[in-house]
């Protein structure tokens, strides 16, 4: 059976890169004695895949990995067992069974939601106040039909209109955090990094962007919802595509 796990990454764990997070989960799953499926051969490895890599320095409330298991505890018990094996800075928040034929996390990613906020919530040191950001977004985003940026890739530079890939762009203020909130295209189609948008916002207003002044948080990762989905939303979080495993189901499977 296939399982999708959702987790948070915060605190000092933001300095652990994607490959090391994968290694971390391989070992954590062994410690939690989750009956994961291994590949055949002399060096068997766990059947595990992650949704979308998260850059070093970024925190997240919505990271996902898919695993294949022989059988499973209930969602509640599995979360508890896994969380006993976690270090501070990684917290399992969901554990659902995927229906047959569900796409791999990596393949279905379509959008990601981010908050980009000042590390020091101190008006004097901020280049933009909350109000300025709100007004600025009107000018920068809502009033324009295209936002052409120069993207530097391994192959060189290319220009790109990112306007169609920004699904939502708003000012953000909550619990002492001030900055930007945005829903961006993600995955294999066009992967837009939040830093690119904020950096271009600064450039547009002729201000210098200091990347160390901001903390980026990925809020969640989404896939396209089916048109028949009762929610009517265009995007749904990745764990929406699986089902919680109840105590009764656990017994049936076990």
């Amino acid at each position: 059976m296939r399982i999708r796990i959702k987790f948070r990454k915060y605190g000092v764990m933001r300095f652990i890169g994607h490959l090391d997070i994968m290694r971390y989960f391989q070992k954590a799953i062994r410690r939690a004695e989750i009956p994961i499926v291994y590949t055949e051969g002399f060096s068997p490895h766990q059947v595990m895949s992650f949704a979308a890599p998260l850059g070093v320095g970024i925190i997240s409330d919505g990271e996902y990995l898919d695993i294949e298991v022989h059988d499973s505890l209930s969602t509640e018990k599995a979360i508890e067992k896994l969380n006993q094996m976690m270090v501070e800075g990684i917290e399992i928040t969901n554990y659902v069974q995927l229906p047959k034929g569900a796409g791999k996390a990596m393949a279905v990613v379509a959008a990601a939601e981010y908050q980009v906020f000042y590390k020091e919530n101190d008006l004097d040191s901020m280049a933009f106040s909350y109000e300025q950001i709100r007004n600025g977004i009107d000018q920068y985003f809502h009033d324009r039909n295209e936002i052409v940026i120069t993207k530097t890739t391994k192959k060189g530079e290319r220009t790109l209109d990112i306007r169609p890939y920004i699904y939502r762009f708003q000012a953000y203020q909550k619990e002492g955090e001030t900055g930007f909130s945005m829903l961006l295209s993600a995955g294999s189609q066009e992967n837009i990094k939040p830093e690119l948008v904020v950096q271009d916002f600064f450039r547009y207003f002729g201000k210098e962007y200091d990347k160390y002044a901001f903390q980026i948080r990925r809020v969640d990762v989404y896939a396209e919802a089916s048109p028949e989905d009762p929610s009517g939303s265009r995007f749904l979080p990745l764990d929406h595509f699986g089902e919680r495993i109840t105590q009764e189901r656990e017994q049936v499977n076990g």
Partner: protein
Amino acid sequence: MKKLALNDEILLKIDKPARYIGNEVNMVKKDPKDVDIRIAMCFPDVYEIGMSHLGIQILYDMFNKRADVYCERVYSPWPDLHQIMKEQHIPLFGLESQQPVKEMDFLAITIQYEMCYTNILQILDLSQIPLYAKDRDENCPIVIGGGPCTYNPEPLADFFDLFYIGEGETVYDQLLDLYKEMKKGLYSRKEFLHQAAKIPGLYVPSLYEVSYKEDGTIGSFEPVCDDIPKKIKRQVVEDLTKAVYPQKPLVPFIKVTQDRVVLEIQRGCIRGCRFCQAGMVYRPLRERGIDMLKEKAYQMLKNTGHEEISLSSLSSSDYTHLEELLTFLIENFKSQGVNISLPSLRIDAFSLDVMSKVQDVKKSSLTFAPEAGSQRMRDVINKGLTEEDILHGAGLAFEGGWQKVKLYFMLGLPTETEEDMRAIAQLAEKIAERYYEIPKEQRNGKCQITISTSFFVPKPFTPFQWYSMRTKEDFLGCAKVVNEAVKSQLNRKSMKYNWHEADVTVIEGILARGDRRLSKVLLEVYRNGGIFDAWSEFFDNDRWENAFASAHINPDFYTVRERSEDEVFPWDFIDTGVTKEFLLKEWHRAMEGNVTPNCRQQCSGCGAMVYKGGVCYENTH
């Protein structure tokens, strides 16, 4: 959220920030305010190397079992961070609390190889602790050294307050209890060190005075007060089955050199190879009980989630219950996706059978360490491995499907002739010929024989401690002879020859048998930017040569000089159990080409029997 010692800007700029943030699985968390004693345990090399060291895992676990102690870890900041810490005056910190080392009670440094000595100065400097012990005041941590290089700690003597000679599991409690006692009263640092010097195995260099003869050798080495021992007795765990061993080792986030569970099956060695310091100073061989090892293997795999386990010892084939242990590991863990990584085993039918179960035969290679090419030379070094053993083992392996062989040798050994050097290539040739005896249809293309040579460094407490080391030019000459001999073999296309750098070997030789006068050289090298000298990309031979010149020290005194049999060596104040008389007897036997039987064949009276355990008493139970 925990405050890190380094800010985000620094952590995002440097390579591998995970080296500096702590928080690993199984990290011990305590409130520093709740303990009486804080220890910074340091491996003076980069995180990935230091985290792979078993000794630190053992001591970390042992110290933190005490409720009154918090032991944290410290590794050498990589040059990128080193520069930032110097520029911004950021004090070196413990990974656990992220607080400065200088605020702790002890800085304990394990000294594993000579080429990390400059990194020790880096650690002290970045910690903002005075480099010389004599300049430290009451507020500085007590700097204590341990590990293999403390069998001659003299080049580092001026930088340390204390050295711990022997195995860490034994007298640390006494030292910590004494420290706690003294912290309550109004005792000075000096008084504490004086009391500590009375604990067996502890050496306080400032309480010993050295005088030199006109020829530069040691005239006398005496304690400055008469209530401390003249000789420091190496401390040894008598029963390793009962000794502490971690149950929940740390699991790093980044890939480290030893990314697996390490199970130390025994300590010491029965073999008595004459070049090998470990084989002499860790005597007697002591095995851990099979039941304890099974239990620890299970617990450690469960608590770490590692997908690999490796056995550790100097000569695993000598472990009495090896077959039972390997069978247990394979039967219980192989099906759970755990790799069993085998230590270098004697190649025979049993080990090949085990290896074929745990390795992909086509990809893996066999390792032999004959150490010398000719039988004559192997007799001199007392390496009890014959050409027949090697060819027989290789033959079995080739028939089992292996085709890659690695061979390790040393060059610059005592009495070595060009003939001995050429014998290295000839041995490789015989192995290749053995491979091609297999019918063509049954073999898998060419065989690959990799020959590696290192240059021999005579070490203290070995029979070769009297030997005058070869010069750099000699070394390179030896490598040239081997290289040409390899090229003239029939099957040269199946062979590859690698040799080591000679420059760094010479420096290693100087430091290995050096004395207190070398401290100023180390300091000079460090002041001129020398760190990570164990890393070829950072080692700078000119920097060392200039430092010797400016300190008016002739390096030849420590390397190529002939040593007389009655010379007082800088390390003679240490009593390892193995007597100088035994070592000298072995030196003579080496010159005569006589082999000495291993401890299980016959006791040769080395002296290690004074420790009441291990192989010396095997037949008495």
